[in-house]
Amino acid sequence: MFVFAALVVALVVAAVVSQFAVDSPDGLERVAEDTGIVGQASPVEGSIFSDYAVKGLENPGLSLAIAGIVGALVTLSVGYGLIVALRRRRDNPA
């Protein structure tokens, strides 16, 4: 029950609280910009969810919310699945 509530909190943060994120660069980006290091960045190959937006979805708020929810659920699944797999390996050493 607690875990379920915590998941709901995570999804709300991903979909709603994220809407209030400020646009300014984070600490590392800011330092990179100030020092010129930023020029070294290589371009990234985009995916459908690059930069926390849904490619092709016009509404920025909805785009961010969906990307956030997808990301939260993906990390939830990978995190949970990894631990389950580890436990299975522990219980059934091959």
Binding site: F2, V3, A5, A6, L7, V9, A10, L11, V13, A14, V17, S18, F20, A21, V22, D23, S24, P25, D26, G27, L28, R30, V31, A32, D34, T35, G36, I37, G39, Q40, A41, S42, V44, E45, S47, F49, S50, D51, Y52, L64, A67, G68, V70, G71, A72, L73, V74, T75, L76, S77, V78, G79, Y80, L82, I83, V84, L86, R87, R89, R90
Partner: protein
Amino acid sequence: MHAPDGFLNAGTAAATGVVSLGVLAATLRNIGTTLKERQAPLAGVVAAFVFAAQMFNFPVAAGTSGHLLGGALAAVLLGPALGSVVVTVVVVVQALVFADGGLTALGYNIINMAIVTAFGGYGAYWLFRKMMPANRGGIIGATGLAAGVSVVLSAMAFSLEWLFGATAPVAFDKVFGAMVSFHALIGIGEGVISALAVSAVLAARPDLVYGAQISP
């Protein structure tokens, strides 16, 4: 703290890749012996929360923002080993799915955001616990302070990597100074969020807080 590809040279990317893989492998092997069944859902949910919280950039100075890293919080909730694995999952998903952080940069991004924060943060947590009263407030206070420290440690780790892997003519001390200054501010936010989060878990399910089971 998500560095894109290219900030550090190839040798450093490779070396940090090897180091982070090594630490992860050792950590996963170690976790295998101590894992409890009930930790799987909590690990998943902490991963989801850290991912979500990292989407919320808060202002720290004019023209600069910060966001939660989450390693210290994950360590207090799950233990440093499992905590580092959980944040690693977040960092990898962010790089692969959201193009947040580079791919060749994964080695140093994992070290800085998952390994240093979880292990360094937990070490700091243990030290702060010694100085604090042995009650719930002490756990919360120690978590907050340790989380703040973990962000600065993370910034220092990047600066150290810059010392070896610089790709631009920018002096180490300049990078170090700037990184630590901004991340000291970001650490305040990290401390507040982490303290609030751990106090919520303590209120509901104190048995789920790894860091509450120890008494330094």
